[in-house]
Subunit: 154 residues, 4 copies
């Protein structure tokens, strides 16, 4: 009955994050790699993403967005991977109901740079709720922000 | 020496939030009103702000951005209002150094609607650090998200 | 089959919070009143609860404890109230599995006073996860701390 | 004028955390080691610290307390180490004014064990505000909780 294998399940999440979310495209977020244990996304600095016109640094909302998406990518992928066999349409429905419950962002240093990379890993896993930690760095390895997100996954 | 009065100080903040932040314009955030005790901003729903393509709801990052800006607006305005007389250039410099330390967002209900309003008020005030609470509602009064932000203001 | 009525269900929660939790007794937490929409607990200041020996103020951990318990009380009570008829033993088991997922505490003012009151209400409700907001005041009405807690309830 | 050297400054913090805080003694928190870059504290499980009478696990408030103290220890020590020469009485006054601004706790697994160890390190440093991350493990290395704390240090 389940016509898609685990790798294809991951593709469903990649499709959602790469193509489906309009606001991810505004920011220019690209999924570099991810699997049920971790994800990495990146985006390029550009004028529309600036929050502080004097210091030319990323808007805090851009940072929050990137962290939230990275946490969702890994927790949603892990949840899909754990589900029993079911038709793709049912998997898509389940994916569509997954959402962020709460998010904490710690802003550590000004968001300066040309290419920003956000990584995530799961710290609490479960059939209903999962928690991820996320980090944002620039191309020099400067650590710009930490995030912690709690996600509804079942 | 201080050539600007309290109302003009508020205008500095309004200018920063209405005109200065490129990413605020991407979202379409408008300052409706604010003073040192509270702020209200609003924005219209539009296709670029969608996070869930199936349910057509706001991206969590859009919500985080709106909450962060509303918290910054009220805490920055309150901090400027408390400062002693100083030249406008010095005030602008101080404003440019204010920033978010950390932000928590609680997502309560799906972000459906045409017009979204975000309000904020101060819960902890100080010469260095201030904390604000924020709420996001749609045009029907549905409460979509809560936020709590800690800001460096001196 | 379900031999206990809604009021008796609430008594299960009251019993857990008043009698069952050893650490609540260390702090001296008493349930003043609660129902599925809100809870109020209180405790008296005493030397063991001091965190800052110079200023004689409550330890931040005491405040976090009181806020967490108040949030758990209201979310657990609301979740029990929504459950279908089932034997008391099953209800007790479900209650024993409810737990805090995450907690944020905002410390607003020094914890000075003789009697501290903590109130809570639900801001997000669901069959699996609920979110509550909590406040701590002293006998003069001074607002000492805010809390936000996310709880696993099903 | 400053009659105490850096090592003695650290002793001031150790004294505060080991002897000064009444509530730390209730929990039985001992400072194992700390310096301006990291701290480790530990405490033994005992009946008074239980939060869930059925599962015999630590109260969430005990976990929050241990995480908060570990974060305060490292951020206060780092802040004292950076201060210019000043009389000990002035240093003590500054230490007494340091406090937690906000705390987030992520509860990952049930708090089972005999000996619990909490570690902390600084993720954001500054002359006014510092942010630390903390972890709680039991004697088997099971990771029980994460914490993030924002502290006023100047």
């Amino acid at each position: 009955m389940d016509t898609i294998n685990p790798a294809e399940r991951l593709d469903l999440v990649a499709e959602l994050f790469d193509e489906g979310m309009a606001f991810d495209k505004v920011i220019g977020l690209k999924v570099d790699r991810y699997d049920p244990t971790g994800a990495q996304l990146s985006f390029r600095g550009k004028p529309e993403l600036i929050g502080n016109p004097i210091h030319k640094i990323l808007h805090g909302g851009v940072i929050a967005t990137a962290l939230d998406v990275a946490g969702a990518a890994v927790t949603f992928a892990a949840a899909l991977a754990r589900m029993p066999a079911m038709p793709e349409s049912e998997l898509r429905e389940k994916l569509a109901r997954m959402s962020t419950i709460d998010l904490r962002v710690d802003y550590l240093r000004p968001g300066r740079g040309d290419v920003f990379t956000v990584t995530s890993h799961i710290i609490r896993t479960g059939s209903k709720v999962a928690v991820a930690r996320m980090e944002l760095h620039n191309e020099d390895g400067t650590h710009i922000a930490f995030g912690t997100g709690t996600y509804m996954v079942g």
